[in-house]
Every structure is written in structure tokens, then in C-alpha cells.
Amino acid sequence: MTEKKQPKRDSLTNEFNQTMKPVSLWTDAWRRLRKNKMAFAGLIIIGVFGLLSFTAPILPIHSYETQVTEHQNLRPSFRPAGQLMIETRTSYFKQVMEAEGRTELNDEEKAEISSMEQSVQTNPIHKQMYLLGTDSLGRDMLSRVLYGGRISIGIGLVGTFFSMLVGISLGSIAGYVGGRLDNLLMRFVDILYGLPYMLVVIIMMALFGKNIINLFIAIALISWLTLCRVVRGQIISLKNAEFVEAARSMGASTPRIIFRHLTPNTLGVIVVFSTLMVPQFIMNESFLSFLGLGISAPMASWGSLVAEGASVMDLYPWQLLVPAISMTVFLFAMNFLGDGLRDALDPQSKNKL
């Protein structure tokens, strides 16, 4: 029985030539995310939306606020506006004609049509195309949806960012310090949670005026609550972990422990919740705009566009459907991405909400 010399080997391969690759949380998560087709599709869709919204001012599209009265309420089409305009007017006249029992257009109507045709020949404006139609003031739906997206997504992102700042800081501090501070804060959170939040926001918007700042304040006021709770929960479960004791035994101060050791470990949860907060923000803002308490004309957000469209949906359904579908697709994509991120970052939660 001689002592066998152990062959030199790389720490990643054991004696049986089995490799054990070290994998960081993020690489592993990314790999899993890519496998999840819905989530990945969501990511791409968001990218596209984001790109379009961001570059909207430089894209070759119509302005979102120019009103061309003759071009009101045109259907989505590839054909030039002039033609559509004439066709719509003609079919309207035909309806009147039938209603009055005539078989021919009268002189006034004929005159109007020919002056329109004249105008179409001479005025280049009638050669424009409105791919997604126009609204009741002759504004291009495509650009309104894109600009509306800019506003909605922008509000979603900025709002989420601020909520994150507040929620994470307060949550971390409350969770780590514990005791009276924690109790007090959680009581406060509970009370705010119990309020019929949107109702309060409605009051605030109505009473304090409808500008964007108030909008932000109103929505951001309540949105940090869930994140705060979640982060606090994570911190509480982590703070008794051994690596924290180790840091403390090496003399790390409390803020250092909170921000350099504990918070990064909660990043997974933070990422997931933040991704899911953006659509909520967008929904809240749209909600307010729908009620007339959010964005004011001529600016548009998806919510106000849906409101405008809803009022005329029996006649011009595309005015409702275009913003509705855009918004829905975006929110869908964000929710799928959020779900996918959650599954990717915590494999055991594959079965979780």
C-alpha cells in the first residue's frame, strides 16, 4: 500500500474529470432568461418601444400637435390623405342622399367635392399618409401614440427610479436598524397602504392643479411602499447571516454594512420589483389622464389618448384601438419580462407568483 501521488489538477476539474464551472448569479440568471422565450420576446419589444420613443423627435413622422382640420378622423391607410378625405365626404353625402330619397348629389354637394378635388391637386399637404389614421382634430395618430408613449414610459421610468431611491433607502434602514424606528416606519407604511390610494391622488390632482410635477408627487407618494416592505423583509432575513457578523467583527460601521453588504444582496428582488413597478406607474398615470386629471392637451399620454378614443369609438374605432393596443403590448412585454426575471434570478421561485 503505497501513498499514491495526487496528480496536479486544476481546481475546476476533479479526479473524475468532471468540471465544475463556477457561475455567478448574473450569468446564470441571464442564461435562464434567454431560455424563457416569452420573457425574451418581452425584452425585445420593450427595446423597440424604448428606441422608438426615445428617437421620436428625429423620426420622419408628422408632428403630434399639428392640426389639419380637413384631415379629421381619417382611417388608417397607406393611401394619401387627400383621396381619403374626398372618399369620406362623398360617402357621407351619399348617405344623406339616400336618407332624403334622392338618387343624385345636389349642386352644393357636387361643388364641395370638386373644390376638394381642386385642393387636392394643388396643395401638397394632401399627399401625406397617415398610417394609423387621424383623430378628431386632424392630428396624426401614429405620432401621437409615439409621443404619448414617450410621456407614459418616461413617467414610468422616472417615477420608478424615485420610488426605488426612497423605498430602498428606507427599507434598508428600517430592516437593519430594527426596533422603534422600524416599528414606526412600518406603522406609517401600513396606514398609507390602507388608504384608497387612487382616490387620494384624484383629490390631490384636482385640488392642487394638473401639472406634471404634481402628477409625479402624487403618484410617487405611494409607490415606494411595496418596495420598501420587500427590501426590509430581505434585509431582515439577511442581517443575521454570517457574512454580516463577519463584517461587523472586522469593524464595519452600520451604514457601511447596510449599503455595501446587505443591499447588493437584495438586488435580485429589487430588479424584479422595479421591473414590475414601471407598468404600474404607467397604469396609474394613464388612469389619471383618462379621468382628465393628468396630462393636458396638446401633450398626450396613452391614457389620455384612450380617453379621447373611447368617446368616439362607435364611429372611429381605430382612435381607441391604436393607443389601447400599443399600451397593452408594452405593459404585456414588461410584465412578461418581470416574470421572467423573477424566475431567472430565483430558480426555486419558478413556481411562484
Binding site: A206, A310, M313, A324, M334
Partner: protein, 309 residues
């Protein structure tokens, strides 16, 4: 158990108190008053009006007077609807909203829980994927998109249901289908997802393994052992869900022209009708607080770890 209930009830009182005070402060700190938007009123009349509504007294006195009235259940006069008190304005509208809300909540809970359980038991089957995809739709699409779209198709294009209105008019009960459905959908979706996740998690628990190892049939395991634990998160969710539904009724009532609390509320906010605004907020908050209390008690019933110390 009874001690638990009493404790919970007692903690309601300061909460309610705080809410009323909070609402008072917010409403009164807004710029302008109920009479600033009406032009051309001679100042003496404005003074008189203010006196009539006690608005000339120092704010703290107004607060105390108000609290006093509340204790007696009197929400004060409305500055907009000059002939009505706030109690009357709310009195006719509240039952409508409550009915809408309760129906929606019931639909959401019953269908959501059922869907969640079925999805969990048939995890990764087509039933599961279908149900969960619908659920994501329900969560992503806002109420004010679902409502008009449903209206567009069901009422206008396919003419299956009436577009608007409420009971007492010329419509039968079918008129509530769309509003209730619209209001319930997002919460149905959330509850379904929550239930599914919760059931799946409980299924992996050690005590389920023990139950199976004792030879119990799968049906007994699920109905007796899994359900109780799995439903707890759903019960907790009922509180916030109800709050959301209250908010949702405002929109749904607008879309389907329902005579509930929604429209008057927004109008009151725009017209600075302090009486109605405060009254609405207080009523809503009280209902919410009561709901949360009931949810807590129910939770205590189900989870012995909370009520048996």
C-alpha cells in the same frame, strides 16, 4: 381568539381618526375655496356664504366642529348641491357602488381561486399555460382599456349587451355584466396567479410529504392539508384588492354611466365641494378599514399561529 378580535378592533379607532384628520388637512390645504371659481359674486355675499358654512372661523375650530358633527354621523352640507346634505348625496350613490364592488370582488375571488388551484394541480399542462397567459393579460391591460374595448365589441359591434345604464331603468340584470366583468378582471387575474403560486409552494412543503406518507389519498391531501395553508396569502390580498376595486369603480362608473359614487366624487374634487370630498373619502376609508378588519379576523381563524399564542 376573542382577545385577538378585540385587540384588532381597538386598533381600528386611531386609524380611522388619523384618516379623517389626514383627509381634512389635505383638502383644506389646497389653494382656493368652494367659492373662488364662481365669478361676479359681490364680496358681501361671499362673506355671508362663508359664514353660513362656518368657513370664516379659524381652521382649528372648523376641524373640531367637523369632528363633532362626524361623531353624530352628520357629514355636513354640500357646498355644490345647495339643497342636499352630503349624507343624502352619498346615500343614494353608495349602495350602487357597493353592489358593483361586492359583485366584482366575489367574481374575482371565486373564479380566481378555482383557476389558480386547477392550474397548480395541472402544472405545465396546456390548461396551466392558457390560464396563466390570460392572467397576464388581465394584469397588464388597464381597466379603462378593457372597459371601452368590451363595450366596443359586446355592445356596439355584436349588440349582445346594453352599453350603459343601471337597474331601475329599462334594463334587466344583464346591464351589470360588463361593468362587473371589467372591474373583476384584473383582480381575478392576480388572485389566480397568487393562488397557483401558493398552492405550488405548499405542495412542496414537508408536511405534505408527511401526509402522503401516511397513505392519505391525493384528494384528501389537497382538500384538507393543502388548501388551508395555500389560501392564506390570498386572504391577505383581499384587503388591497378591495381597495383597488373601490378605486376601479370610479372608472367603471364613468365608462358605463352608472350612478354610483364615482362621478360625484370627481365633480366634487373639481368644484372643491369640501363636504362631499371629505364625506366620500371618509366613507370609502371606513369601508376599507372595516374590510381590512374582517380580513384580519378571517385570517386569524385560518392561521392558528396568529391567534393562539
Amino acid at each position: 381568539m376573542t382577545r385577538f378580535m378585540i385587540r384588532r378592533f381597538l386598533s381600528l379607532i386611531p386609524t380611522v381618526f388619523l384618516i379623517i384628520t389626514f383627509a381634512f388637512i389635505i383638502v383644506r390645504s389646497a389653494p382656493g375655496g368652494p367659492f373662488t371659481s364662481e365669478k361676479g359674486r359681490p364680496p358681501e355675499i361671499v362673506e355671508n356664504l362663508k359664514k353660513h358654512y362656518d368657513l370664516d372661523k379659524p381652521i382649528f375650530t372648523q376641524y373640531l366642529l367637523y369632528m363633532g358633527k362626524i361623531m353624530k354621523g352628520n357629514l355636513g352640507p354640500s357646498t355644490r348641491f345647495k339643497d342636499f346634505t352630503v349624507n343624502e348625496v352619498i346615500g343614494t350613490a353608495l349602495p350602487v357602488s357597493m353592489l358593483l364592488g361586492i359583485l366584482a370582488l366575489s367574481l374575482a375571488v371565486l373564479s380566481g381561486v378555482a383557476a389558480g388551484i386547477i392550474s397548480a394541480l395541472r402544472q405545465n399542462s396546456w390548461v396551466d399555460y392558457l390560464a396563466m397567459s390570460f392572467a397576464v393579460v388581465g394584469i397588464s391591460v388597464p381597466l379603462f382599456v378593457i372597459g371601452p374595448v368590451l363595450k366596443l365589441f359586446l355592445a356596439l359591434k355584436w349588440k349582445l349587451l346594453p352599453t350603459s345604464g343601471w337597474f331601475g331603468g329599462r334594463y334587466s340584470w344583464v346591464v351589470i355584466i360588463m361593468p362587473v366583468l371589467t372591474l373583476a378582471l384584473p383582480y381575478l387575474a392576480s388572485i389566480a396567479r397568487l393562488t397557483r403560486a401558493s398552492v405550488l409552494e405548499v405542495l412542496r412543503a414537508d408536511y405534505i410529504r408527511t401526509a402522503r406518507s401516511k397513505g392519505l389519498s391525493e384528494t384528501v391531501v389537497i382538500l384538507k392539508h393543502v388548501l388551508k395553508g395555500a389560501l392564506l396569502p390570498v386572504i391577505s390580498f383581499l384587503g388591497p384588492a378591495f381597495a383597488g376595486i373601490i378605486t376601479g369603480t370610479v372608472v367603471v362608473e364613468q365608462i358605463f354611466t352608472i350612478p354610483g359614487m364615482g362621478r360625484p366624487y370627481i365633480q366634487a374634487a373639481i368644484n372643491r365641494d369640501y363636504g362631499v370630498i371629505l364625506g366620500d373619502v371618509i366613507v370609502f376609508s371606513l369601508i376599507l378599514v372595516l374590510m381590512n378588519f374582517l380580513v384580519d379576523i378571517f385570517y386569524g381563524f385560518l392561521d392558528p399561529r396568529i391567534s393562539y399564542k
